[in-house]
């Protein structure tokens, strides 16, 4: 049975408005702080930077929202991203002599990333749903495995995309349309589609039902195994998408790629108001969570008030504060 960590007696109201307002207020507060500390904060360049680099974690966090809402968890996404990036680079470099620089090789890379993501998601999902091992353990295991594989593929060093190829592929991160860079566009698309499917789609409803009570969902003819599997596959796919955006940025992958992305993605999801125990999730909240996390880092880099050694402490405090703000209503009683 899912017993929430906090709630003993449940409030009669459905969702206290604070859970909606909370993250938004935290975000606005951060924006105001940022704007006060540095005039460039609200500039086009800075906002584009922050949004573009939030896109990787953001896209992954959208998938993570589905996984967590269905009652699961995935610790492997960071390593998975590193692994997929490494694989993509290896495949593209290997195909270069045959395909030459051009769109075909990009498509090959994209296809590699998507297929690898789906397979990786499938492996996690099957181990969790069919073999029946806790998501925490499975993905802790695969986290180690992918991290290790990328180190091994790179021989301990860095895998770099061929220079010519990189120049050709680069615009996928840096360019865009109407002044909005591609990562932001792709992120926005993922969010919109994700939000619609989670809140208004049959699949989203099934995801929430599975997370709320898998047995009830089963008795309601929901194929809970398939739903949970699908969330992991979706997450894998989105990790693939994130990687497609990531590789053109620096054109390299190493064993440090994507470190701690999993924790950041999970934190974003929870700050956004999704229940860690499953049963309720919202993609738009996750976006706010992602932005909060990115802005904290951005603001710390834009100012000198805090010793760089203490950045982590400030982030920790802010994460807790953001959630306190959101749970405000609950605390009140």
């Amino acid at each position: 049975m899912t017993q929430t960590d906090t709630a003993t007696a449940k409030p009669a109201r459905r969702l206290p408005p604070m859970t909606v307002i909370g993250p938004v207020v935290a975000l606005i507060a951060l924006i105001i702080i940022g704007a006060m500390l540095n005039p460039n904060f609200l500039g086009y360049a800075n906002l584009t930077n922050v949004l573009s680099r939030s896109a990787f974690i953001g896209i992954i966090a959208v998938g993570m929202t589905f996984v967590i809402t269905a009652g699961g968890l995935d610790l492997s996404v960071g390593s998975m991203a590193a692994f997929i990036a490494g694989l993509m680079i290896l495949v593209m470099n290997a195909a270069l002599p045959v395909l030459g620089v051009g769109l075909p090789i990009i498509f090959l890379g994209v296809a590699t990333a998507l297929v690898a993501g789906v397979i990786a998601g499938l492996i996690n999902g099957l181990l969790i749903t069919k073999v029946g091992i806790e998501a925490f353990i499975v993905t802790l295991g695969t986290m180690g495995i992918y991290r290790s594989l990328v180190t091994w593929m790179a021989d301990g060093g860095t895998l770099s995309l061929d220079f010519g190829l990189r120049t050709f592929y680069r615009p996928v991160y840096y360019d865009g349309i109407l002044g909005i860079s591609w990562p932001i566009i792709v992120f926005a698309l993922c969010v919109i589609v994700g939000e619609i499917f989670l809140s208004r789609g049959v699949f989203g409803r099934h995801v929430a039902a599975t997370g709320a009570n898998a047995e009830v969902a089963h008795y309601s003819s929901v194929n809970t195994t398939r739903v949970r599997l699908a969330t992991y596959v979706l997450l894998g796919l989105l990790v693939g998408v994130a990687t497609i955006m990531y590789v053109p940025r620096l054109g390299s992958a190493s064993q440090t790629t994507g470190i701690l992305w999993e924790l950041e993605a999970i934190a974003a999801v929870i700050i956004g108001g999704t229940y860690l125990k499953g049963g309720f999730g919202r993609v738009w909240g996750t976006v706010i969570g992602v932005l909060i996390l990115s802005l904290i880092e951005n603001i710390l880099n834009l100012t000198d008030y805090v010793s760089p050694y203490l950045n982590g402490a400030v982030q920790g405090v802010m994460i807790i504060l953001a959630v306190i703000l959101q749970r405000g209503a609950k605390t009140g009683k």
């Binding site: 790179a154 840096y174 190493s254 440090t256 951005n298």
Partner: protein
């Protein structure tokens, strides 16, 4: 025929330089195992000091090592355990980071971290005689990083060069990209960047490129990654120089230890591998196209 076992304990490849060092260690071990049939090597990598102590204990307890080549993750925590080995008669080679008690090791192949910072600083004073404003990307918070920064600050003192800000880029391309982007938002005018490491320099240059800023005259990395040396060699103005801190020092250390164990050649002592400035003139000497780093 009796085989002699040499243990090699190094930090895991958690950043580019360490990756290069791992590569050299592995390659040297493979090569020496063929050259010396009577030698056996145990290579283990650790991602923190405690794990490295575990590795060394395991070598001692189960592999009967006759010699240990260790690149300490951190000096302090490794001193005790390595000292214990030394006292039980095992040959000790320490690489790069000295232990905190002197005289434990038989052979010390040393990198020079304050020197690394100083050489970089001297390049800055030379390149910017009128002073200027720079930003600094630091590595993972460690003693090494502190020593390098101290050396750098000492060298630029009084030269009119001002460090606008220094943040940790963790010897990581992505992190330094992020930090550099934010530095660019924060300071409309930056004259140069000391990235203190080539991985970080790559991240920083990507951020500068993307921002289209032309106020930055150059980015100085460090450690001699081949791509960066190549750019220096080709006269890239953004990468006018580099400072060596060769990850291959581990290879030197392993080779010398092998010689020391298998022969009576006098290899003990201290070998400091100083940091030198690489410029377009001498770059060719430091270019190893086959290394992964």
């Amino acid at each position: 025929q009796d085989t002699t076992v040499i243990g090699v304990s190094i930090p895991a490849a958690t950043h580019g330089w360490a990756g290069g060092m791992n590569y050299h260690a592995q390659a040297t071990v493979d090569r020496l195992e063929e050259v010396y049939p009577q030698l056996d090597f145990v290579l283990s990598t650790a991602s923190n000091a405690a794990e490295q102590v575990n590795d060394i204990e395991d070598m001692m307890a189960t592999r009967d090592i006759a010699a240990l080549v260790v690149l300490p993750f951190e000096s302090e925590p490794l001193t005790g355990p390595v000292q214990a080995l030394s006292e039980s008669g095992i040959w000790i080679t320490v690489v790069d980071r000295g232990l905190s008690v002197e005289g434990i090791e038989d052979l010390y192949v040393a990198g020079d971290n304050p020197g690394f910072g100083r050489v970089a600083g001297e390049f800055f004073t030379g390149a910017m005689p009128d002073g200027g404003q720079i930003v600094v990307l630091r590595g993972i918070p460690t003693t090494i990083d502190n020593e390098r920064l101290a050396g750098f600050e000492e060298a630029i003192e009084g030269s009119g060069i001002e460090i606008l800000a220094a943040e940790h880029g963790n010897w990581n391309r992505d992190d330094s990209f992020t930090v550099m982007q934010d530095f660019l938002s924060r300071y409309p005018e930056i004259d140069a960047v000391w990235a203190s490491d080539d991985d970080m320099a790559i991240g920083a240059m990507a951020a500068i490129d993307a921002a289209g800023r032309d106020d930055i005259q150059f980015v100085l990395g460090g450690a001699g990654m081949k791509e960066m040396i190549q750019r220096t060699m080709e006269g890239d103005e953004m990468v006018p120089a580099n400072v060596t801190y060769p990850p291959a020092m581990i290879a030197t250390a392993i080779e010398m230890t092998a010689v020391g164990v298998t022969s009576n050649a006098p290899v003990s002592g201290t070998f400091t591998i100083g940091s030198v400035l690489i410029t377009p003139e001498n770059a060719e000497q430091y270019y190893y196209p086959d290394s992964p780093f």
